[in-house]
């Protein structure tokens, strides 16, 4: 069983990578968007800091630069697009060919996501290096933080993937999910720390961000590498991430059974 899954992941990964190579221009355009957004936020916050005498909350220009540049890479590693695609699959009937094969569509989506990340990291990392040189961020992490970063990002990816895949399944009930997706993205921008570091939010905003999984999808690995978390807080973060992943798995499992029962398999 595990050998079969290993073969599937290896083979499909290579094939998805080959498909991505066919869409080089599209990949680059997507990446420009992914890079531009955090750079714009960074420039805005640097301007705010400058007018406030060099600091915003507990961030100065160097740490703001570090935050947004690390966040850019972490966001790239953890984002997924399947909630935007699911509605189309349901409406057009393109799910049909996936459902008659003995592989849960979840696996195919996760492999496709990983293939995209590997290919695009080859561009994201040099671009980050260039921006690093330009904005001169301040970052002095301890070695254990670098070690903890890998699992933190991997778990953040899984929390986000399970959460967004569960949300995507609402496409089986709601014909057009784009409004719902936009609402989710608006919450994510504020509560995951994408628009601003969570410590800059009002205290009630911070409380909401800490109670929901958003922070663990993005801000947590960034705060970890910036040395803003104690080892105890990091361990606590890992455990909460694992808890959310378990909950996400359960949700996908339960919702999938009901969602696919509603599927009307439109199209020939």
């Amino acid at each position: 069983m595990s050998a079969w899954f290993g073969d599937i992941y290896r083979t499909l990964f290579k094939i998805e990578l080959a498909v991505m190579f066919q869409y080089r221009a599209a990949v680059v355009i997507w990446l420009i968007g992914l890079v531009l957004q955090p750079v714009i936020y960074l420039v805005v916050w640097l301007t705010v800091a400058e007018t406030e005498g060099g600091r915003v909350g507990d961030f100065d220009a160097g740490s703001l630069s570090a935050y947004f540049l690390i966040m850019m890479v972490v966001n790239h590693a953890t984002f997924s697009w399947h909630m935007w695609e699911m509605g189309y699959r349901v409406r057009s009937g393109s799910f049909n060919s996936l459902l008659v094969q003995p592989l849960h569509p979840f696996h195919r989506d996760i492999i496709q996501n990983m293939a995209y990340k590997v290919l695009s990291l080859a561009i994201v990392l040099p671009v980050t290096a260039l921006l690093w040189w330009f904005f001169e961020p301040t970052l002095t992490p301890e070695p254990w933080m670098w070690i903890a970063l890998g699992p933190a990002v991997a778990l953040a990816f899984l929390v986000r993937f399970f959460f967004e895949w569960s949300l995507a399944l609402l496409a089986f009930w709601i014909t057009d999910t784009s409004g719902l997706n936009n609402l989710y993205m608006a919450l994510f921008f504020f509560l995951a720390g994408r628009m601003a570091p969570i410590s800059l939010l009002p205290s009630w905003g911070q409380a909401i961000a800490n109670a929901l999984p958003f922070r663990l999808m993005l801000a947590f690995p960034v705060e970890l590498l910036m040395g803003r978390l104690t080892p105890e807080q990091v361990m606590d973060g890992f455990l909460t991430q694992i808890l959310w992943i378990g909950l996400g798995w359960l949700t996908v499992h339960l919702v999938w059974t009901r969602a696919s029962a509603r599927y009307s398999a439109v199209g020939a």
Binding site: I8, L12, A18, Y23, V100, Q101, P102, S264, A268
Partner: protein
């Protein structure tokens, strides 16, 4: 051995109803109306292992909906369905590994990469051992003449080439059950024949059960001894193709070539068509011998043939008779996904 069993299989879709116009669109925001459409109603049939059965019916009759329930894509609203001992809708891996569904316009091929890569993808998904996979690919390449196509990206293939590859990729795991929904749709005559020959050969060598829908009667005549006829979601006929012709066509067609042109044969039988010195007549089956005898005795006949009517005509007659029995029912293609 029975491989497919349907017992009162029913699928009802709930579809929104809205009158045209902006005002009605606004009203529908507050008062949503729906109606139930019975796409498949109380369908019962069984298929034995190794059978090739044609599934016939006009657009919107319920053929594709039935195939989707049999392959596990749709959950039946009512009734029982069993394929190879599995409840299809549960979509267990062991079930999905033994069936395939080929739909004319939907594909398992990956659009942007060579065909061989799609084969490799299905090898992994179905967990096929490399030697068995290679052997199957070799067989499919030979039978479907795919050697030149394997390294071409799918998007560069013609429709016929793509369909051959679709059929091949769907059979890599050597399924025991084939659900073929319009597999020759849009193909030229040569390509249709090739697909047809291949399906017959696959059935012969593997003993697979095949349930086939097609609008091309040539497919059905060439492959299927038995047919199921469905209309408005209800099964109208289940039996041998010959029996269908016998039951629903009480007429024979007589084609006469005469030495002279413009002969009036309406005294002998109903004239269907006249072209030059060739006249096509239709006669009640029981009068065929007598009419033929009179024609040969009275007229300067060069050639005379007696034929069953084309199968298309027979099928049309089945639907017409059903409509006469059930004049209130109307087809609702749009409501049937």
């Amino acid at each position: 051995m029975t491989t497919i069993r349907c017992d009162n299989l029913t699928k009802t879709y709930t579809v929104p109803v809205r009158d045209p116009g902006l005002l009605n669109a606004a009203k529908s925001l507050f008062h949503r109306r729906t109606r139930d459409v019975e796409a498949v109603k109380d369908v019962c049939f069984e298929l034995a292992e190794g059978e090739i059965v044609g599934f016939l019916g006009p657009n919107g009759a319920g053929k594709t909906t039935t195939l989707k329930m049999l392959s596990g894509l749709l959950q039946p609203t009512d009734g029982q369905v069993e394929v190879l001992g599995f409840k299809p809708f549960r979509r267990q891996r062991d079930f999905l590994r033994q069936i395939t569904l080929v739909m004319g316009n939907r594909n398992q091929l990956v659009w942007d990469i060579p065909v061989a890569d799609s084969f490799e993808r299905n090898r992994a998904i179905y967990g096929l051992e490399r030697p068995a996979f290679t052997e199957t690919v070799d067989m499919l390449v030979e039978l479907l003449d795919l050697a030149e196509l394997l390294d071409k990206p799918v998007r560069n293939l013609s429709l016929g080439e793509r369909m051959k590859c679709e059929v091949a990729v769907a059979l890599l795991h050597r399924p025991r059950i084939l659900f073929l929904d319009e597999p020759t749709l849009g193909l030229d005559v040569t390509m249709q024949r090739r697909i047809r020959t291949f399906v017959a050969e696959y059935n012969r060598t593997s003993g697979a059960t095949v349930l086939l829908t097609s609008h091309y009667m040539a497919d059905v005549e060439a492959l299927c001894e038995r047919v199921l006829v469905i209309h408005h979601g209800q099964l109208l006929f289940d039996g041998q193709l010959d029996e269908l012709v016998q039951r629903f066509s009480p007429h024979k067609t007589i084609v006469v070539d005469l030495e002279t042109e413009e002969a009036d044969l309406s005294d002998y039988a109903e004239v269907v068509h006249t072209e030059g010195n060739r006249v096509t007549l239709t006669v009640p089956k029981e009068l065929t011998a007598a009419t033929t005898g009179r024609l040969l005795a009275d007229l300067p006949v060069i050639d005379l043939t007696v034929e069953d009517p084309p199968i298309e005509e027979v099928i049309e007659r089945v639907f017409t008779q059903q409509l006469q029995h059930d004049p209130d029912s109307t087809s609702d293609d749009s409501a049937t996904p």
